[in-house]
Symmetry: C2
Subunit: 153 residues, 2 copies
């Protein structure tokens, strides 16, 4: 699939869509937690049942990295993306359970012509991570540096 | 180490400190990236040298999860912490390199008595992740639900 590369100038505020789903298994959730966020409600079903989460739930950092992977594979794959600058307004709104498909809905917002990276503009991408039956699991606004077209002439 | 548990009422805006360091190895950085953020500048030294990063750099999600682990182990270990609600103003300001020690500096800010979690208040923890020679690698403001003391009488 060779789509033409889209530069900062090619993005339009309000343009958006939805990615395909990724479905973390129980093993995926436990494996991430064991290595990077070893808390009982991410690791052990029985402990999780007795916690605030009421059952095994993915680490919020796992959910965030899965969301960004969906964007990287399905949204940024044809964008002249340089780097992530950071993000704002990240909220975890509902536990992410094993075997529930997660999709990322996104809208391009506020495009600014300058960043600290020479030759790149800034773009904000508002992202909602939704679970199976359309309930919101996480949201965040990503700030990115996107390469500008080389000036010609 | 059995320190008394600190509730929402025991936290004071302006109170802060610094955690011990964690030092990700080259293998740690590559291992996280392979599983959760497989981009060439997190995986391959030569590709990274030719990228914006100018050398192998940890995934930003890896840095964020290392920072939260430092806080969980050294700051939240005696706090009646219920859950993370989300965070604001996350910025990655400098690449995180292999074998450089990372510390988390933190200050408690803005304590609000209510959250969606019954019996918990909200706390904001402003965090700076600093590298060896005191340069800022990442910052973020965490929003948390912290349990309140049970009313007595």
């Amino acid at each position: 699939m060779t789509r033409p590369l889209r530069f900062w100038e090619d993005l339009t505020p309000g343009e958006g869509g939805e990615t395909p789903a990724v479905t973390p298994s129980r093993e995926d959730i436990i494996s991430f937690a064991r290595d990077y966020d070893p808390q009982s409600f991410h690791l052990d079903e029985e402990a999780a049942r007795q916690s605030l989460f009421g059952g095994l739930a993915a680490s919020g950092w796992h959910t965030a990295s899965m969301a960004f992977s969906l964007l990287r594979e399905h949204v940024l794959d044809d964008v002249a993306w340089e780097s992530n600058l950071g993000f704002d307004n990240l909220r975890w709104t509902r536990p992410v359970r094993p075997d529930e498909p997660l999709r990322a809905r996104y809208v391009w917002r506020e495009l600014l012509p300058e960043t600290a990276t020479p030759g790149a503009g800034q773009a904000r991408l508002d992202v909602q991570v939704v679970e199976g039956d359309d309930t919101l699991a996480m949201e965040m606004s990503l700030l990115m540096a996107i390469r500008r077209r080389r000036e010609t002439g």
